[in-house]
Symmetry: C2
Subunit: 139 residues, 2 copies
DNA sequence: TCTTGACTTAGAATTATTCTAATGTTAGAT
DNA sequence: ATCTAACATTAGAATAATTCTAAGTCAAGA
């Protein structure tokens, strides 16, 4: 879904479209590198010198609750965010700490609503390892 | 793998088997509830009043690096640990914050060594939702 | 017994996130 | 256009989780 559609969706649901919210969503739209909160905050700070961390956290939480972005808990102690919400796997490189999208077909959980009596609301299929770039550097 | 086997394995690899390391591993062996570091620390504190958080963190890291336990990053900002290292899915209930084991068959990643040129070293298939107990309480 | 290296400890430091109270902004009613 | 009430943002403080540090402990080998 493109940026305009997501912004329009927010508006329709009665959510005030502030400049900060627009900026956070746009940042994620333009930067598909699964940035951390820290990264998002510092990047936005350049354009909006008064933006506060609380706003960044609040906005990310809000956008997540509207289902417009995805929260990633793949790295210990740090949150990453992803503009793309369609279910897909994430790969975390323990050398360079980068988060990659990976395509895995045939996941038996796809489309499932329940498991063992628990209601499935979100899938977070994470893979940890060493990425191709780092492997080239020193196996 | 049972506790004795894991302890013996540690010993064979030249790792000193201190009382603290024994206690941490045994705690995880006896408590299969995917406890947080906090929970582990406080529980051990009752028996070993002088055990320090640093030791708990160091030990968990060490046991993880020996492949004897598994680290779980399913809950934002908190680490959970699991005695069981055989690949299996985890379900996190966003109401009660409990981590459940769930059995998912037919995962296409099972046994895979590489994906998109990245080396797979660990699978962390997480599912988020509302658990059966919480659903019974209030839908 | 002495030395060395590895381990543990208490608490300080750091990092990530959440909270708070004051201020600013918005949209609807007038 | 102005007022107002609700909502949003801000800076910085507070909290929570984790890591670091320096001193002390322990165990094995010389």
């Amino acid at each position: 879904m493109n940026l305009k559609e997501k912004l329009a969706g927010l508006n329709e649901k009665g959510c005030t479209l502030t400049i900060q919210r627009h900026a956070v969503l746009e940042y994620l739209y333009l930067n598909r590198t699964h940035p951390t909160v820290e990264k998002i905050y510092h990047s936005l700070k350049k354009k909006f010198s008064t933006i506060s961390k609380a706003t960044v956290y609040n906005t990310l939480e809000l956008l997540k609750n509207y289902g417009l972005i995805q929260e990633i808990t793949i790295e210990k102690g740090k949150l990453h965010f992803d503009y793309e919400v369609k279910p897909h796997h994430h790969f975390f490189c323990r050398r360079c700490n980068h988060v990659y999208d990976v395509d895995v077909v045939g996941c038996p959980l796809a489309g499932k609503k329940m498991i063992d009596g628990h209601r499935i609301e979100e899938l977070r299929p994470y893979i940890i390892g060493t990425c191709s770039k780092c492997l080239k550097k020193r196996g």
